[in-house]
Structure formats: C-alpha cells, structure tokens
C-alpha cells in the first residue's frame, strides 16, 4: 500500500565532525520527522560515516569534563534518534549509504536501520518524493 504521508528526499555528502551543514541537515530532518513525513536519505561520499557504528565519545580535559559530563555528540546517535523520532510520529526515515563510498572508507559497520545502496536508489527516492534537497560538500 502506498503511503499518503509526504515523502522528502535528501542527499548528504559531508563527513562527520567537519561541517555545520550536517547539523542543519539534521535539523531539517528532525522538523520533517516531527511532522510525520517519510524521509529518504542518500548518504554519498563522507556522509556514509555519519551512521558509522564505531564512533566513540571522549572526555575533554580542556572543557574540564569527564566522558559522561561531556556527552560528546556522535552523529551515529543523532541518526538513530532521527530514525526513532520519525517512527514515533508515524513516519519513517530510510537511510541509504552509497555502497562504493562505504567500501573505500571501510565504513561498513553502520548502526541498525542503515542500509547499503547505490545512486539508482537516490534517483528512485527523488522520483517518489515531493521534493529533494541536496546538501553537497563545498571546497
């Protein structure tokens, strides 16, 4: 059965801890998730590391905070939270990592809910979506 919920597609490219564009992308995804949208994300290039399962938090001596106090933001946790948030509001977040980009970065260990795909999945997403936003790497 076809969903009647609005479907939005996103292409993300920036790797974790490198760009505020990713934070903006997460904000947009959160806003759409809270409105019950069906969200499709195609992670291309460095963005395939956003849901990389082996990311680790750390304490920060300069901040004077322990591991627990620092609560270092990990993109994998944000992706997981966004997937859960979308489901909680009756929508969904389908995150597809570009398979070749995963291979060249050794980023195969992704969190639950992330799957491997190809640019043809992105084209399929774009065709089915109300609109598509690409947030490319700059520089």
């Amino acid at each position: 059965m076809t969903s009647t919920r609005p479907q939005l597609a996103f292409a993300l490219m920036d790797p974790p801890f490198e760009s505020a564009r990713t934070t903006t992308a997460f904000r947009l995804l959160a806003a759409a998730a809270q409105r019950g949208c069906d969200l499709k994300v195609f992670a291309y290039e460095g963005a395939v590391l956003l849901p990389f399962a082996k990311q680790q938090a750390h304490p920060n001596a300069v901040h004077g905070r322990s591991l627990e106090e620092e609560n270092h933001p990990l993109p994998k946790d944000i992706v997981a939270a966004l997937i859960a948030e979308a489901a909680r509001h009756g929508g969904s977040l389908d995150w597809i990592n570009c398979g070749l980009c995963v291979d060249e970065r050794g980023a195969g260990e992704a969190i639950v809910g992330v799957r491997r795909g190809s640019p043809s999945d992105f084209w399929q997403m774009a065709q089915n979506a109300c609109n598509t936003l690409v947030i490319p790497t700059r520089g």
Partner: protein
C-alpha cells in the same frame, strides 16, 4: 522528472576518486534512467576546457596509473544526451575562450540561466 544540476564545487578529491564525484553521480543517475542536464559554474567551468591532463602523480614508489580524466568524463556525459552548459562570465574570468571548450559544451549567460530554471522539475546545486 527532469533535473538541472548546477555544479560549482570543483577539483575536490578528484585525485583520490579518479573523477569528479558529482559528474560520476550524473553518469550513474543517467544509467538509472534520469533525465538531467548540467550547468558548470565557478571553478567548475574548468572542467569544460580542452587538453586537461592530471597524470604523473608519484609519491615514492606509488604512482597513480589511472588519473582523473574529467574532460572525457564530461564529454561522455554530453554523448549520453545531457546538455552541458558553462557560465560565460565564469569562463571569461578564468581566461577560457569559447573555442577552448569541449565540443558540445555551451556557454551560458547569467540571464539565460534564470530563464532555464523553470524548465526543470528539480534544481540540484552541488
């Protein structure tokens, strides 16, 4: 669905990836049945120049045997039916004359770009 792809980010990771990754994506989307055209702007207009050669990279005993061939990559996209434009002002600013462009690449003036946009279902700015 018809998509106009404006490519502005240029020469980013082209050595590591052995191509421009957005042009690569255009090829794969074409293969998936996409109808798409390309506008090169900013430094990306350099992709339309004839005679590019990125070969010869060597680090110690490591040699890059398959360098990026962006000229060929772009030419193949034209051959697959994509219309490729390059913004005229950006070409001029970089000293590229129309006669130095790859066959099939069309110089496009900014006002014409504005008129082009409504012809597409989506505009993706890379």
């Amino acid at each position: 669905m018809k998509v106009l792809n404006i490519i502005e980010s240029a020469y980013r990771a082209t050595i590591e990836e052995q191509d421009d990754t957005i042009l690569w994506l255009m090829h794969t989307l074409k293969g998936a049945g996409a109808t798409l055209d390309v506008v090169l702007r900013g430094d990306a207009v350099g992709y339309a120049a004839c005679g590019q050669d990125a070969s010869g990279l060597v680090f110690g005993s490591w040699q890059q045997t398959e360098p990026p061939r962006i000229e060929q990559q772009l030419g193949n996209l034209v051959a697959k039916g994509a219309t490729v434009y390059a913004l005229a002002d950006d070409l001029t600013a970089r000293g590229l004359a129309p006669g130095e462009l790859l066959p099939g690449v069309q110089a496009l003036h900014q006002p014409a770009l504005t008129g082009l946009l409504p012809q597409y279902d989506c505009i993706w700015h890379w």
